[in-house]
Symmetry: C2
Subunit: 357 residues, 2 copies
């Protein structure tokens, strides 16, 4: 992949604090970029504001333009809670999920670690550093299913989880490859094979088949319910987790909670085959209650920019952002809140300065 030259970056700051945290992520990205690499940015105003003003969520023409970029950086989308003009789920499905499906983001990558100095809910979590590889284009997220006799006492509604050998194998393969690159080389499959037997059996089969090609990777299996128990009682047991779209949604929010909150959780919606740009975004939402006040912690957005650099092949630049963020987090005074008592832009400045220096 391009290691010099111009990188075309689609930037979707979105709503609320999305704007503020994206500004800081871009600030750090610029500083971290290797010599000879230039980020050419195109901004796309998408999200609740645009929808409320125009009725548009993600027009196909805009999606086509975005597709011409090398990567996408997104802040957060979402309007005020219970806004009667904003149908529930419209942005999630029309924008976020639409991009994941259209751009074939089949690896939804969510690293979780407990950063030194960050308070969390667990009394003694131990050392926690794992990554969840969540399938992003199948499972219960396909929108398949429907309803009959809607609104009557005889309504019946179905949701169809779709699981293909093609879709499962590629994400399982990606997860094995990631596990092999990590020191502990351990991969845990999370599913519910004892109840969801049809889907479970294709996941189980391909986990075994692909695993045979990675004899140096230790494997493990947990039902999703048991996985939530270990996530709170022994999270340090995890190295890489591979799981389905819905179980991944659940386990990564839980992972963010036990590692100190979604304010620090970064994610990548990755197309490993590079047939379309991958998208990087913090796990948190647009937090309209604190928007525009320079109160938001931009660290998750900044760490998402590091994932973006890593995906583009700039591993050293990514590592320098991560190290700077870790150092910044470690020096936030106890009890000073997520930003360590600073304005959003001051956090970005501080991390950028560490990267530069």
């Amino acid at each position: 992949f391009a290691s010099t030259g111009t990188i075309k970056l689609a930037v979707i700051p979105g709503d609320g604090i999305g704007q503020e945290v994206t500004a800081e992520a871009l600030k750090v990205l610029e500083v971290a970029s290797p010599a000879g690499v230039k980020f050419e940015q195109t901004r796309y105003d998408l999200g609740a504001e645009r929808y409320l003003a125009t009725g548009e969520v993600l027009p196909d023409s805009v999606l086509d333009e975005i597709r011409q970029h090398d990567a996408i950086l997104l802040g957060a989308v979402g309007g005020k809670p219970n806004d009667p003009n904003l149908p529930p789920g419209i942005l999630e499905r029309g924008l976020l999920l639409k991009m994941r499906f259209a751009l074939d983001h089949y690896v939804n990558l969510r690293p979780s670690r407990i950063f030194p100095g960050v308070p969390g809910p667990l009394a003694s979590p131990g050392e926690v550093d794992f990554v969840v590889v969540r399938e992003g284009t199948e499972g219960p997220y396909t929108g398949n299913g429907g309803a009959l006799r809607v609104g009557t006492p005889h309504e019946i509604a179905t949701e169809v989880s779709v699981n293909t050998a093609f879709g499962v194998e590629r994400v399982v393969r990606d997860a094995f490859a990631r596990a092999q690159r990590r020191p502990r080389k351990k991969l845990t499959l999370v599913h519910k094979t004892n109840v969801l037997v049809h889907a479970g059996s294709v996941w189980w089969r391909l986990f075994q088949e692909v695993g045979a090609e990675y004899p140096d990777v230790t494997t493990d299996y947990l039902h999703i319910d048991a996985a939530t128990i270990f996530m709170t009682t022994d999270p340090s047991r995890f190295d890489v987790i591979v799981t389905d779209n819905l179980f991944g949604d659940i386990i990564t929010d839980l992972a963010a909670a036990i590692t100190g909150g979604i304010g620090l959780a970064a994610s990548g919606n990755v197309n490993p085959d590079r047939t379309a740009p991958s998208m990087f975004e913090p796990v948190h939402g647009s937090a309209p209650d604190i928007a525009g006040q320079q109160k938001a912690d931009p660290t998750a957005a900044i760490l998402s920019a590091a994932l973006l650099l890593d995906h583009l092949g700039f591993a050293d630049a990514a590592a320098s952002i991560e190290a700077a963020a870790v150092a910044d987090i470690a020096e936030r005074p106890a009890g000073s809140g997520p930003t360590g008592g600073r304005r959003t832009s001051e956090v970005g400045d501080a991390i950028a300065a560490r990267v530069a220096g």
Copy 2:
């Protein structure tokens, strides 16, 4: 319901520690029974052992016999992990789920509280006392779905979550009624309405419609992913939770984890219409590694017997068991392990003695 006379109880001790904990639950049940009430027990040997010996899981004739009882007490079923003679999921589906569906256990009741003195993974959980009302007969647990081109690169496997207005309304109604009987009168719906729109919309609609009949119950909604966050960062916010079969499976294991482990978690598979007997069982499994050693904590089984008494209309007897268990738990010396350093039967004796006296 019967408040004197003979109660016909089907007892399924099951495998491993199921045998030991059931003995203690029955011991306490006898002591707690109100004057004039007699439990007539029939034992059914079901579980891994029977399957391995005979190939039978739950013959229809046995199910028909069980159906003639007033209630069912189950210990735990399950053989040695990875026993090649025990196909994965066969007992879960052939025994546990078969009973839930056949006996229309549409309310899967799982109370969670942090008992004074019990160590748990959270640093400062606060006061925790909530109950999850998990739907037990629909959702992704129906076994609907299937697979094509199994074992090939073109396999496609589906799981169909089935949600009917009939099925959703009755469990939502039960949850509202329970919430109304509790001091805080608060009910939280947990779902994933922003993605699972078909199922989500029938759950959402009936939650609103039934809620209109319970104006004194405060309502709240959380997506399942956000619910796992609050479960670790602010579990005391929950009073009653109502949710679908799969989300309930996940959230109740997490609830058990944060309240000190599944060794204390009781559950009821309840048919509120009493068209068939309800079943009560600890949430934990058969723990073959410690079976037969009198090491298991019977408290969850004993608390399940309390739920059974409550369901049969003996609220005072149920409360006396609960109080005795709470008192016993509080006096277990710190660091002495789940049973407080006692044999399984000693824990049963101690709780029975408190109930008696």
